[in-house]
């Protein structure tokens, strides 16, 4: 079984030949050196940083708050944490993936663990787990550091202003900063302006650290983020405001012991307030108010140690999250219509995870990880419970689920060849939308979705393999692949007996389990350094996703390619890039997906550093192509030609 799957997925890979774990990647957000980073530097949005990761695609509903997909799986099959903290989006229409509540200036890096081998705090991460690592100067930094950046993009008049400063001493550090972004409507290829693609965002953060003793550290973080007047051209509504308050307090003890390394315990709290807005739209049939709220409080405690060849970690975590959303519709002259769309669902989740990295020899490493979680969900809102009970008579107020995951991977590094194989099993509980969502209109397929409290957990077996051959320093070729074999895959299913609520909707779907499904990804990467300073890198990627009837699943990437030529000397860096997708032929027609034509765009960028100042400029979509990708919700067009310029100053 394993062998045949490996063969069937053998032609694939990763762009991070240098990363220690072949499927795990890090994109560096901050000004520190090393690793992958966006050509736009720190003024790049979180979304642009995310797009640097090779297993990541982004669903765009506008020019702000893109939804990351890892291994062609969306939010419900991923875990997203901020420094290990759980946070849940508050919009029933997924307008606010949690990555939208941080700013580049808040982060040191974004780390991705593809597949079931998640970070210790991750739960439900079948497709992968993203951890947004906050930037902390620590106790060994420069006494004072200042970083400011200003960016401008011609297309959409995007303006970015950011500044942050840190102070570091042996016993204390503090860092803080503020960011502001503002964009007008952008122009798609050909020059047409896309209405409702504007946004505005402010973000501020402070973090502190206090060394209590040589081995004991206390740290705090606080992030306040507010987006307002955010347009969503792919949807029927915009967002008046999306606010997050994210805070944590942690205590870390470093051991001077042969057994344990560190023990970190963190308590955290965050809340999100999200308010949609249709007041600026023309032709609104019925004005609606659709607010959503998310509160999360939690804690985790992570103990790491090493014994002989083992590097181990043990993590215990727990959180309580509440999600509430409702909708009030105002038909002209008649009584308002009200419904609860997320019935104030309280989720109490507790988990224990363990990982062990075993250095078998100087050439080979075995990595094992496992987690078990238990959760209880309660519908705190009576009206929402009564409403759902119409569809599920006799449904309870309270449900609980137990989920788990385990993964093993083996890596072998020879002089010119690196090989890895991995396998895992994991399950996830249905999300609040999938279990209890109420008439949530999905503009992707124009169906109203109703949650199903009787869903079974979804589970998947993952197998992955990668091989990288580097005969000499100038050339490398790698293939990687993975396959996820799902059982009880959760997806909306037609329910023709029900009548849609949203005016103009095609019908109603109720979430259900389908017996099985498969998602597989493969990529091929070639790197070539003909002469010093010149680097040519090409990646080809292929994915497939099928349901139990072998029909294509929606939002599975078509064959894609990226080719980059980089020239860098000490101070100057030039990058030319061609990327594209072929025509999306295996689109999920059954799931309302439409065909997307192939496209190709060319980008140029350059950066130059002179002492404290770095200048970055570039031109994206040079040929001003009009195009839309398979992940552009409702086929909204991408940006046309865009020239950007940004300057950052460091002291």
């Amino acid at each position: 079984m394993l062998g045949t799957l490996l063969l069937s997925t053998i032609f694939l890979t990763d762009t991070t030949a240098m990363a220690p774990h072949h499927l795990d990647e890090v994109v560096v957000v901050s000004y520190k050196q090393g690793g992958k980073r966006s050509a736009k530097g720190q003024t790049a949005s979180i979304d642009e940083h995310l797009s640097e990761l090779s297993h990541v695609e982004l669903v765009r509903r506008g020019s702000y708050a893109w939804e990351p997909m890892v291994n062609n799986m969306q939010t419900e099959r991923l875990s997203t944490t901020i420094d290990g903290m759980k946070i849940f989006y508050a919009c029933t229409d997924k307008m606010d993936p949690v990555t939208s509540y941080v700013e580049s200036g808040n982060l040191q890096s974004i780390s991705l663990n593809a597949g079931l081998n998640g970070n210790p705090q991750a739960t439900g991460n079948i497709g992968g787990s993203l951890d947004l690592r906050l930037r902390k100067v620590g106790f060994a930094g420069a006494p004072f550091h200042l970083n400011t950046s200003v960016g401008y993009e011609a297309n959409g008049q995007l303006q970015v202003y950011g500044a942050d400063a840190t102070h570091s001493s042996r016993h204390f550090y503090i860092g803080g900063g503020a960011f502001y972004r503002h964009a007008d409507n952008y122009k798609s290829g050909g020059g047409d302006r896309l209405p409702f693609s504007q946004f505005q965002k402010v973000n501020a953060f402070v973090n502190t650290g206090l060394k209590l003793t040589d081995n004991d550290v206390m740290e705090t973080t606080l992030i306040v983020d507010r987006a307002s007047d955010v347009g969503y051209p792919a949807l029927n509504m915009d967002v008046a405001k999306a606010e997050a308050f994210i805070t944590s307090l942690s205590y870390k003890h470093l051991f001077v012991s042969p057994l344990f390394n560190s023990w970190e315990t963190k308590v955290y709290y965050n809340h999100i307030v999200h308010e949609m807005d249709d007041t600026h739209r023309p032709d609104v049939e019925i004005h609606m108010d659709m607010p959503g709220r998310s509160w999360t409080a939690g804690a985790y405690s992570l103990l790491t140690g090493s014994v002989g060849r083992h590097e181990t970690s043990l993590n215990v975590d727990g959180y309580y999250n509440r999600l509430f959303a409702d909708m009030t519709m105002y038909p002209g002259g008649a009584a308002p219509m009200y419904m609860v769309t997320w019935p104030d669902v309280g989720t109490l989740n507790m988990g224990v995870s363990f990982s062990d990295r075993i250095i078998l020899s100087s050439l080979s490493v075995l990595h094992l990880s496992a987690k078990v979680s238990w959760q209880q969900q309660r519908l705190n809102n009576e009206e929402g419970h009564q409403a759902l009970s119409v569809f599920f008579p006799g449904m309870r107020r309270q449900y609980h689920q137990t989920t788990g995951r385990m993964a093993a991977s083996y890596q072998l590094s020879l002089s010119d060849l690196r090989l890895s194989v991995g396998a895992g099993w994991g399950s996830r509980a249905p999300t609040v939308t999938e279990s209890y969502g109420y008439y949530l209109n999905n503009t992707f397929d124009q169906y109203d979705y109703i949650g199903n409290p009787r869903l079974k957990n979804e589970s998947a077996v993952e197998v992955n393999a990668a091989i990288n051959w580097q005969p000499d320093k100038t050339f490398s070729i790698g293939i990687d692949g993975n396959a996820f074999l799902f059982t009880n895959y959760i997806i909306g299913q037609f329910e023709t007996r029900l009548s849609p609520m949203t005016v103009g909707a095609e019908g109603v779907k109720v979430y259900g389990n389908i017996s099985h499904a498969i998602i597989a990804n493969a990529s091929l990467t070639i790197g070539w350094k003909p002469i010093d300073g010149i680097n040519w890198n090409t990646t080809l990627a292929y994915s497939l996703g099928h349901d139990e009837h072998d029909d294509p699943l929606p939002l599975i990437a078509p064959f894609s390619y990226t080719s980059r030529l980089t020239y860098s000397t000490g101070r100057l860096r030039l990058l030319a890039e061609v990327k594209g997708h072929v025509r999306h032929t295996a689109y999920g027609v059954k799931y309302g997906e439409k065909e997307t034509p192939g496209w190709v765009v060319c980008n140029l960028s350059t950066s130059y550093t002179l002492q404290h100042v770095t200048l970055r400029t570039g031109i994206e979509n040079i040929l001003d192509r009009f195009y839309t990708t398979y992940a552009d919700w409702n086929g909204i067009p991408q940006k046309g030609r865009n020239i950007y310029l940004n300057i950052s100053f460091e002291l």
Binding site: M329, A334, A335, M337, Y338, M339, Q386, V390, M501, V503
Partner: protein
């Protein structure tokens, strides 16, 4: 002891409550107007308390009050202290003047609503329950009747209501007491009529004001127009089934699943199940079938595709 405890409780109510039931009762009495004795005609302390608590939730209609044999008072109440078009519940209670305690056994019969249309010089009645019945065994002293008004009071017409009362052998009457019947607000239409041959029937929706989002019991009465029309319209002797199709006209005629038709119940009402997925205006399209299952009214699918016979309910 138990009774003493109740007295204390009643005293507490007396101190904290104030409502129209206290009309005519002198202040300063520890129990709000009621003396519990071992009078077998009257309620026990528990029954009196339950009745008292219920009466706090309704409002008196002063014009329907009467006195019998100078020994008993009879009071009538509605939920709001007013009447409106369509189904109205009327609650009756009789008290002994000596103790003001509620009398267990009395009867209200011959409820006769009458509309006098002054301009047209015409009189007609409206659907009504013939008598008042005990509706909750916990407080048998309160009897319920109903009247379903087919039109509101106006300059051109006014309503009166008459009834007979029999309290412990003493008889009394309320004769043509004037009433004001209000129109229902927009988005509420709880009374509809249909014809089968020459007969006219009225469909009175009884419990729309209790509905919430979710699954609800739908209760209605079907009454038949009398000849002469001044005779109160009694419940129809024919048996029907009422299919319901609830729709939201403001939401593209959105509907809900698993609604169940109204079928005749032992108490003379019709009951079914209506599922409401949200608040707002619901138009409940009706199809009436006779005992043989033939459609006799509604279900005629007008241009909208839905029956032209409907109730409107805004929750």
């Amino acid at each position: 002891m138990k009774v003493k405890g109740l007295f204390l409780f009643l005293s507490a109510i007396a101190l904290t409550s104030c409502n129209s039931n206290d009309d005519g009762v002198s202040a300063g009495i520890e129990i709000p107007g009621i003396t519990i004795t071992n009078d077998i005609d009257c309620c026990t302390a528990e029954q009196a308390l339950q009745a008292y608590k219920f009466l706090e939730t309704v409002k008196i209609i002063p014009t329907l009050t009467t006195e019998v044999d100078r020994k008993y008072n009879v009071y009538a109440y509605t939920r709001t202290g007013k009447f409106h078009i369509g189904y109205n519940e009327v609650f009756f209670v009789a008290t002994k003047k000596s103790s003001n305690n509620y009398i267990k056994d009395f009867s209200i019969t011959g409820l006769t609503p009458l509309m006098l249309m002054t301009k047209m010089k015409m009189e007609h009645s409206t659907p009504v329950s013939g008598s008042a019945e005990v509706f909750n065994d916990n407080f048998p002293a309160i009897k319920r009747a109903w009247v379903s008004f087919i039109m509101s009071s106006s300059e051109s017409g006014s309503w009166t209501l008459s009834y007979h009362v029999d309290v412990l052998g003493g008889k009394g009457d309320v004769n043509k007491a004037g009433l004001t019947v209000d129109a229902l607000p927009d988005g509420q239409a709880w009374l509809k009529s249909f014809k089968v041959g020459d007969d006219t029937y009225f469909l009175s929706l009884a419990n729309a004001s209790d509905w919430k989002t979710g699954s609800n019991v739908i209760r209605a009465y079907i009454s038949k127009k009398s000849t002469p029309i001044t005779t109160p319209y009694a419940l129809a002797e024919e048996s029907f089934t009422v299919d319901i199709d609830p729709r939201m006209p403001d939401m593209g005629n959105h509907t809900s699943p698993d609604n169940r038709p109204l079928t005749p119940q032992a108490d003379g009402s019709y009951q079914g199940t209506i599922n409401l997925t949200m608040t707002g205006l619901w138009r409940i399209h009706l199809t009436i079938r006779d005992a043989q299952g033939h459609v006799v009214a509604g279900g005629d699918n007008q241009s909208s595709g839905y029956s032209s016979l409907f109730w409107d309910v805004t929750i």
